[in-house]
C-alpha cells in the first residue's frame, strides 16, 4: 500500500509534463523548419554561392521529358535545384488553386493552361514576366502563343508547348474486318467515322474513342465544327451559347456514340490510351504527343487527319501548357532562369525531342517544316499537328471564369456519356456557370 502512493503522485505529474513536452517539441520542430527555409530563402536571393531550391508544379504526363530538362538545367546551374511536384491532370488545377489562394511560398514555377492565364492573372496569382525575361524573347515565340499568355499587355506566363489532335487507327483491327485503311491525306467526316466505327465494333472491341473523354479541350472540336460559340463576347454569359441548338447538336453526337450507336467505351480519360494500345479500340482521336507512347507500345497503327462534320467547318482542338511564376514565390530570379531554359533555351529543344510536343518557338517550328525526318511515318504526326495548329485550330473560349466554365461543362459531358439528355445537361450546366461567372463582372475578357 505504502509504495503505491508516491508512484501515483509521480504519474499524476508526469503525464501532463510529458504531454507538454510533446507539444513543445512539436512547436520547436515547426519553428526549426520554418527558420531553416527562411534562411535558405534569404541566401538564395542575395548570394549565389548557396543552393536555391525552386518548386515546380507540373502535370504528371510530362514526367519523362521534364526530368531530362531538369537534369540538363541543374547541370548548367549547379546552385539551383528544381523540385518537381508531378500531379495528375484532375488534381493539377486544384492543387495550384489551393496553394496559391493560401499564398503558399513553397510554390515557385507552375503549369498554366492557356485559358487559365486570365483567371490566374485576375486573381493575382502570377508574377508578370516582362521584367524577368529578355525583351527579345517574345519574338522567338509565335505571335498567337504570345497573345494567349498576355493579359492587359503584360506577359503573364511563358509558352511551353502547344498541341493538336490526329486520328490514330489500329491497322490489325481494320485488316481483321476486311475494311480498307483510311486515306492518310483525306479528312473524314464525323458521320463517316461513326459509320466506320459501327462496322469495327464487335465483342471486346470498340470502334472509336476520344482520348480526352468528357473534357472540353477535345470535345469543343465538335461544337466548333458547327460554329457554335460557347460564351458571350465579354466571356460572362454561357446561357444561349453553351446550350445553343448547334452546341446541343454537336454534343448529341457525342452522347450518341456511347448510348445510341454504342461504338465508344464508357471510360475515363486516364484509361483511354490503354484501351487503344491494348487493341480494345479501333479508332482513336488523340493528341500528337501521344505518338511516342503509341509507337513504343508496339501497336500496328496508322494516322490520318482530325474529322469534321459533313459540309461544316474544319475545326481542330488546340491548347497549350505555359509556365508561370507564382506571385508569392521567394525565388523569382532563379525561377525565371529555369523558365528561360525551358521555353527559350536548351530545355525547349529537349522537351520537343523527348516529349514529341508541338513547340511554340518559331525556330523549332521551322525545323519541323524543313527536317526530312518529319516526312516519314510516324514522325510525320508532328508535321500534321503543326499544319493543323496553323490552319484549322480553334482556341478555347476566352473568359476570366474559364475554370468555372470548364469544370461544369466537363461534368455535363460526363453526364451525357452516362445517358443524360444533352439538352437538359447543357441547360443545367449554363445555369450553374452563369451564376458562377457573375462575380467576374467588371473583369471582362477583352
Amino acid at each position: 500500500m505504502i509504495p503505491k502512493q508516491p508512484v501515483k503522485r509521480f504519474a499524476a505529474w508526469c503525464a501532463p509534463m510529458l504531454a507538454a513536452a510533446v507539444l513543445f517539441t512539436g512547436c520547436s520542430q515547426g519553428a526549426g523548419t520554418s527558420a531553416d527555409s527562411s534562411s535558405s530563402n534569404g541566401q538564395g536571393s542575395s548570394t549565389s554561392s548557396a543552393t536555391t531550391e525552386i518548386s515546380f508544379e507540373a502535370y504528371s504526363n510530362y514526367e519523362k521529358p521534364l526530368t531530362k530538362v531538369v537534369e540538363a538545367f541543374e547541370q548548367q546551374n549547379p546552385n539551383i535545384k528544381v523540385k518537381m511536384n508531378l500531379v495528375p491532370i484532375d488534381q493539377l488545377t486544384e492543387t495550384i488553386e489551393i496553394k496559391l489562394s493560401s499564398k503558399a511560398e513553397d510554390l515557385d514555377v507552375l503549369f498554366v493552361d492557356t485559358p487559365l492565364v486570365m483567371n490566374y492573372s485576375v486573381k493575382g496569382y502570377l508574377e508578370p514576366l516582362d521584367s524577368l525575361i529578355p525583351a527579345d524573347a517574345k519574338a522567338k515565340w509565335t505571335k498567337s502563343a504570345v497573345d494567349t499568355v498576355s493579359y492587359k499587355g503584360e506577359l503573364m506566363a511563358a509558352p511551353m508547348n502547344s498541341s493538336s489532335q490526329v486520328l490514330y487507327y489500329n491497322k490489325d483491327i481494320f485488316k481483321k474486318k476486311g475494311i480498307p485503311f483510311p486515306d492518310a491525306d483525306k479528312r473524314m467526316t464525323w458521320e463517316e467515322v461513326r459509320d466506320l466505327a459501327k462496322q469495327l465494333t464487335s465483342d471486346n472491341v470498340y470502334g472509336f474513342s476520344f482520348e480526352q473523354v468528357d473534357k472540353a479541350y477535345q470535345l469543343l472540336a465538335l461544337s466548333d465544327s458547327l460554329s457554335a460559340k460557347m460564351l458571350s463576347d465579354d466571356g460572362l454569359v454561357s446561357s444561349g451559347y453553351s446550350n445553343s441548338p448547334e452546341a446541343v447538336k454537336a454534343f448529341q453526337f457525342y452522347a450518341d456514340l456511347f448510348n445510341k450507336d454504342k461504338v465508344s467505351p464508357k471510360i475515363k480519360k486516364e484509361e483511354s490510351i490503354d484501351y487503344f494500345t491494348s487493341g480494345k479500340v479501333a479508332m482513336f482521336v488523340s493528341t500528337n504527343q501521344n505518338m511516342p507512347k503509341i509507337r513504343d507500345s508496339g501497336l500496328n497503327f496508322g494516322v490520318t487527319l482530325h474529322p469534321y462534320f459533313a459540309g461544316q467547318k474544319v475545326a481542330t482542338p488546340t491548347g497549350a501548357w505555359n509556365v508561370g511564376i507564382s506571385k508569392y514565390s521567394e525565388h523569382k530570379e532563379a525561377s525565371a532562369k529555369f523558365i528561360k531554359f525551358l521555353t527559350l533555351g536548351e530545355g525547349a529543344k529537349i522537351l520537343f525531342k523527348e516529349g514529341g510536343t508541338l513547340p511554340p518557338q518559331i525556330d523549332l517550328l521551322n525545323s519541323i517544316d524543313t527536317d526530312p525526318k518529319y516526312e516519314q511515318f510516324p514522325d510525320n504526326v508532328i508535321r500534321i499537328a503543326a499544319k493543323e495548329s496553323r490552319e484549322t485550330a480553334v482556341p478555347r473560349p476566352k473568359t476570366p471564369g474559364y475554370l468555372e466554365w470548364e469544370k461544369n461543362m466537363n461534368k455535363a459531358f460526363e453526364d451525357m456519356k452516362n445517358g443524360a439528355d444533352p439538352q437538359k445537361a447543357l441547360d443545367d450546366a449554363v445555369h450553374v456557370i452563369d451564376n458562377l461567372l457573375k462575380k467576374y463582372k467588371g473583369v471582362a475578357a477583352n
Binding site: 501532463p16 504531454a19 488545377t93 475554370l403 460526363e414 453526364d415 452516362n418 451564376n435 458562377l436 462575380k439
Partner: protein, 288 residues
C-alpha cells in the same frame, strides 16, 4: 472532497486537450462564422464586409438547395443503416463460438484500409466496363449495372461503400458495450422464460443506451461531414445526385475561389449537424 484536492492536477491533465479543442475546433468555427460575412476582391485579394449577402445568394441558388436535399437524403438513409448494421454485427461478434477472435479480426479489415484506398478499390470493382461486380452480375444472368455512372445508383453505391468501410469501426464500440452486460442478467431473463427478442428489447437495449448514444451522435456527425467518397468517386455527379454540402463547399473554396460562400455553407452545415445532434441527445438521454 477528493475532487477539490486534485483540481490542480485535473486541470493540468486537461490542459493539452482543452488547448487542442480550442485551437482545432472552436477557433475554426468562430473564424468560419466571421469569414462567411466577407468576400474577397479580385486583383488585390482584400476582404470586404458584405453582411449576409453570401447567405442570401445561397438561398437563391437551386444548386445549394439540391445540395442540401442530397445531404439530408444521404444522412436519412446512411445513419440508421450504419447504426443497425453495426449493432447487428456487434451482436454477431459477441456470440460465443469457436474462433470468434478470427471473425473479430477480419471484420476490422475494411476499417484498416484508408478511405481513398477503399474508394479507388471500389471504383475499379464497380466500373461499368469490366468491373468485377458487373462480371459477377453477368455470370449470374443479370444485367450489368452502371453503379456510380447513374444518377439513380450513385448515392446508393456511395452509401454501400461508406458503410462497408464504417460499420466495422462503429461495431467495435457496441461490442465493448455488449461485453459489459453481465451474463447473469441474460441468464436470469432466459430462466424467466423471455424469448430472444424480448431479451434484446428489455435487457440488452436499455443497457446499451450509453454506447448507442455515442454511436448515434458519432455516426451522424461523421456522415454529415463525409466528403472524400464523393470527391474521389463522383465529384458530385452524375447530374449532381451526390453533390453533398461538404463537396459544394470545397468546390466553392478551391475551384471557384469564393471563400465567403464556402464558409457560409460550412456554417449552415454546422447548424444542421448541431440541431440533429441536439435532438438525438434529447431522445436518447440516459437515466443514469
Amino acid at each position: 472532497m477528493k475532487l477539490k484536492n486534485n483540481i490542480g492536477s485535473i486541470l493540468l491533465f486537461l490542459l493539452p486537450t482543452l488547448a487542442g479543442l480550442f485551437l482545432f475546433k472552436l477557433y475554426p468555427i468562430f473564424s468560419a462564422v466571421v469569414q462567411s460575412v466577407y468576400t474577397t476582391q479580385f486583383f488585390t485579394g482584400e476582404k470586404s464586409f458584405v453582411g449576409l449577402q453570401n447567405y442570401q445568394s445561397l438561398f437563391a441558388d437551386p444548386v445549394f438547395w439540391n445540395s442540401l436535399k442530397v445531404t439530408l437524403v444521404f444522412n436519412l438513409i446512411i445513419n440508421p443503416l450504419q447504426i443497425v448494421l453495426a449493432f447487428a454485427l456487434a451482436m454477431l461478434l459477441n456470440t460465443k463460438i469457436k474462433r470468434i477472435a478470427f471473425f473479430r479480426g477480419i471484420h476490422f479489415v475494411p476499417v484498416a484500409v484508408s478511405v481513398p484506398t477503399a474508394c479507388v478499390l471500389w471504383n475499379i470493382m464497380l466500373s461499368p466496363e469490366q468491373g468485377v461486380v458487373n462480371s459477377i452480375l453477368v455470370a449470374l444472368g443479370l444485367d450489368p449495372q452502371p453503379f456510380l455512372g447513374s444518377s439513380l445508383q450513385a448515392l446508393g453505391s456511395i452509401i454501400a461503400i461508406a458503410s462497408w468501410k464504417g460499420v466495422g469501426y462503429w461495431s467495435l464500440f457496441l461490442l465493448a458495450g455488449l461485453q459489459e452486460i453481465p451474463g447473469s442478467l441474460l441468464e436470469a431473463s432466459s430462466l424467466d422464460g423471455a424469448s430472444r427478442w424480448k431479451q434484446f428489447v428489455h435487457v440488452i437495449l436499455p443497457l446499451m443506451k450509453r454506447p448507442l448514444t455515442f454511436i448515434v451522435v458519432a455516426v451522424t456527425t461523421a456522415n454529415f461531414l463525409l466528403f472524400s467518397p464523393m470527391y474521389i468517386l463522383t465529384k458530385g455527379g452524375p447530374e449532381n445526385s451526390t453533390n453533398v454540402l461538404m463537396l459544394e463547399s470545397f468546390n466553392n473554396a478551391f475551384l471557384y475561389s469564393d471563400m465567403g460562400r464556402s464558409y457560409a455553407i460550412m456554417v449552415i452545415l454546422l447548424l444542421i449537424t448541431l440541431t440533429v445532434v441536439a435532438l438525438q441527445f434529447k431522445w436518447l438521454r440516459t437515466s443514469h
